[in-house]
């Protein structure tokens, strides 16, 4: 197995209080590239909290988070933002597109912020990404003119804009009907298997969890089981 993309060691997240509420307790996890990892557990078990810690959006109160051999748990906000921009892509339960920007402009946001491509190259890439999710013709529309499934696909295209090594999803299918949901899961599996990215999804949908390569089960803030599953189609 290749080197993990991201390693959590004794990762801990507590809320201040007396006694402190423990959201995530000493989680150990290695996120593998090329694999689709699903984090499952009952609601309130801390699976989303763990995802936000892994995604550098929330800051752990203890433990380490190793990326490229560096501990990012206590890195500066700017550095963590930079890594999110370059290497991480997020998809949420709600589409979370900026309402004043067209689908195309939404995809352009991370590309322009990173600024690695020229404007023309960035536009070409944004169009290609929209084409990949089957929305080549709808890039000029504002999010409110798109259906729920379409919005989520735009959000996925945006998450992939800077060619991230890690794609993180927080119930990305939670708001979709079964057809769209299956489509999104298929896309995520492709991202891992075809493109070699590390994909981590929080879900309560056992159908999706069954399709994952690695299933991480959580209970009361603890990782209770990490199980590799046989590849399925």
């Amino acid at each position: 197995m290749s080197d993990p993309a991201l390693v959590a060691r004794h990762l801990r997240r507590e809320l201040e209080g007396d006694p402190p509420a423990v959201l995530v307790a000493d989680a150990d996890l290695a996120v593998q590239p090329g694999k689709f990892t699903a984090i499952v557990g009952p609601s309130g078990c801390g699976k989303s909290s763990l995802l936000y810690l892994l995604g550098l959006i929330d800051r752990p109160t203890g433990g380490q988070l190793l990326f490229d051999g560096r501990d990012l748990a206590q890195a500066s906000g700017d550095e963590r933002a930079r890594i999110r921009l370059e290497h991480f892509g997020f998809v949420f339960q709600f589409h979370f597109l900026l309402p004043e920007f067209t689908a195309f402009e939404n995809v352009m946001l991370p590309l322009r912020r990173l600024g690695r491509l020229s404007l023309r190259e960035a536009e070409a890439r944004a169009n290609q990404l929209l084409g990949d999710v089957g929305l080549a013709e709808k890039g000029w529309k504002l999010p409110e003119k798109l259906s729920g499934g379409e919005r989520q696909r735009v959000a996925i295209a945006r998450a992939l804009a800077n060619n991230p090594r890690l794609v993180l999803g927080d119930e990305p299918t939670g708001n979709l009907d079964s057809v769209n949901s299956a489509r999104v899961v298929e896309l995520f599996r492709d991202l891992a298997h075809q493109q070699g990215r590390a994909v981590v999804c929080v879900t309560h949908d056992m159908g999706i969890a069954d399709l994952a390569d690695i299933r991480v089960s959580m209970l009361d803030g603890r990782v209770v089981e990490v199980r590799e599953q046989a590849p399925r189609t």
Partner: protein, 416 residues
């Protein structure tokens, strides 16, 4: 870097354009502030510089007269300086009137670059007409030089300063005095000086009404003729100095006085009371104007603050995408700056229109059509823009900081 800025500006401008009404109110506030600042300051600065110009021009910038600020110290005091001797109640000896050695003083005044000194002799005569005595102060001048030092030539209704040279016994008096005496151009008035000399003078010029100083009690004559009429040949008792830079008068007056001992009075000293009045006026003006701009910045604060509150979700999304805290802070500061900038541009136009309205008003004073003096210098525009932009940045800074501190986790998880 430039790409980042243009991206953040793009986001900021979308936020502003979506919220039309808030944007309109904020921009309107700044525009009204800037517009009225321009109109008020144009009025204030304009009238002030007009007023100061009149203060400066009403007489030479520096007047050196044959007075001493304090009498010459007694020999005993000079000898025992430091308090061993004190003398009270002595009689001050009458100095001989007139500037001693005035050619040297005049030469050193003329030696200052751009400065012109004009010697003159003033004294009192009585005009005797039909049993009526009119006291008149006369000033003997060299017309060619005096014309360069004072603006008397502009104030003549009839005749000119040169006429003094052309006509034997010529005198220029105020229009009002002429009317009172029933005399006009070319008429003859007999004048008697205090030493008994009487001479017939011919009116060769009349000063416009409304110049209180020159109007009713001063007459201009040729220096030579004034000296002979007053019985003080070759004597002058006043040197008026005009400087290239009027605001240098105080310093130059100080050096001249220190060197020659005669009282040299600058126009600032002469009008110190007015100048202190102007200072108060300026303080009032800038207080009012800052208040206007401050109120305008409240509009920006509200607009940006509401924008931050409305866009908490977008802030969280952008953060998750990899935008830094600094990026988001800048987005909202840029919003404030953009509002201020548009406000400034609209305000400039408003101010320009207001100034044109004010400038178009006509007043009829003393037979002349007069306009309100306005200062339309670009300096006012720049001050207004600078103050508004600065207050815009300041007003958006606080909400922008709040924006950068939004915790994305809560919003992304509990999103609506």
């Amino acid at each position: 870097m430039l790409g980042r800025l243009s991206l953040l500006l793009h986001i900021a401008s979308r936020h502003i354009l979506v919220r039309r009404r808030q944007t309109g109110v904020a921009v309107g506030g700044v525009a009204v502030g800037v517009g009225f600042f321009l109109a008020v300051s144009a009025l204030m600065v304009g009238s002030q510089s007009d007023f100061v110009k009149q203060l400066i021009d009403v007489a030479p910038h520096i007047i050196i007269s044959d007075e001493l600020r304090s009498p010459t110290p007694q020999p005993a005091l000079r000898e025992f300086a430091g308090g061993a001797v004190d003398i009270h109640g002595y009689r001050v000896r009458n100095e001989v009137r007139g500037l001693k050695d005035w050619q040297r003083i005049l030469a050193s005044a003329n030696a200052i670059p751009g400065a012109i000194g004009s010697p003159s002799l003033s004294g009192a005569v009585t005009l005797r007409l039909g049993g009526r005595d009119e006291p008149l102060g006369i000033v003997g001048v060299e017309p060619g030089i005096e014309a360069k030092v004072s603006n008397i030539a502009d104030k003549l209704r009839y005749g000119s300063l040169d006429n003094l040279e052309k006509v034997q016994g010529g005198i220029i008096i105020g229009e009002e005095l002429g009317q009172r005496l029933g005399r006009g151009m070319g008429d003859i008035v007999p004048a008697t000086s205090s030493n008994g000399t009487t001479k017939s003078l011919r009116i060769v010029g009349l000063v416009k009404k409304g110049n209180s100083q020159l109007g009713s009690s001063t007459g201009y004559m040729l220096l030579r003729e004034a000296q002979s009429l007053l019985g003080r040949p070759f004597i002058i008792n006043r040197i008026g100095v005009k400087l290239a830079d009027p605001y240098d008068a105080e310093r130059v007056a100080g050096t001249l006085e220190a060197r020659y001992g005669y009282k040299a009075q600058s126009w600032q000293e002469r009008s110190a009371d007015f100048l202190s009045l102007l200072l108060t006026r300026n303080v009032i003006m800038y207080t009012v104007v800052s208040a206007i701009l401050l109120v305008a910045s409240f509009g920006i604060y509200t607009a940006v603050s509401n924008s931050v509150a409305d866009k908490r979700r977008d802030i969280a999304i952008l953060r998750s995408m990899g935008f830094s805290e600094g990026d988001l802070q800048l987005v909202f500061v840029l919003e404030g700056m953009a509002l201020a900038l548009v406000g400034v541009l609209v305000g400039w136009m408003l101010g320009w229109v207001l100034m044109n309205i004010l400038g178009g008003l006509e007043f009829h004073i003393g037979g002349d059509v007069q306009h309100i003096p306005l200062d339309r210098s670009p300096r006012q525009y720049l001050i207004a823009a600078g103050a508004s932009l600065a207050s815009g940045v300041f007003a958006s800074w606080l909400p922008a900081r709040k924006a950068s501190r939004v915790d994305p986790v809560d919003i992304l998880r509990g999103a609506v």
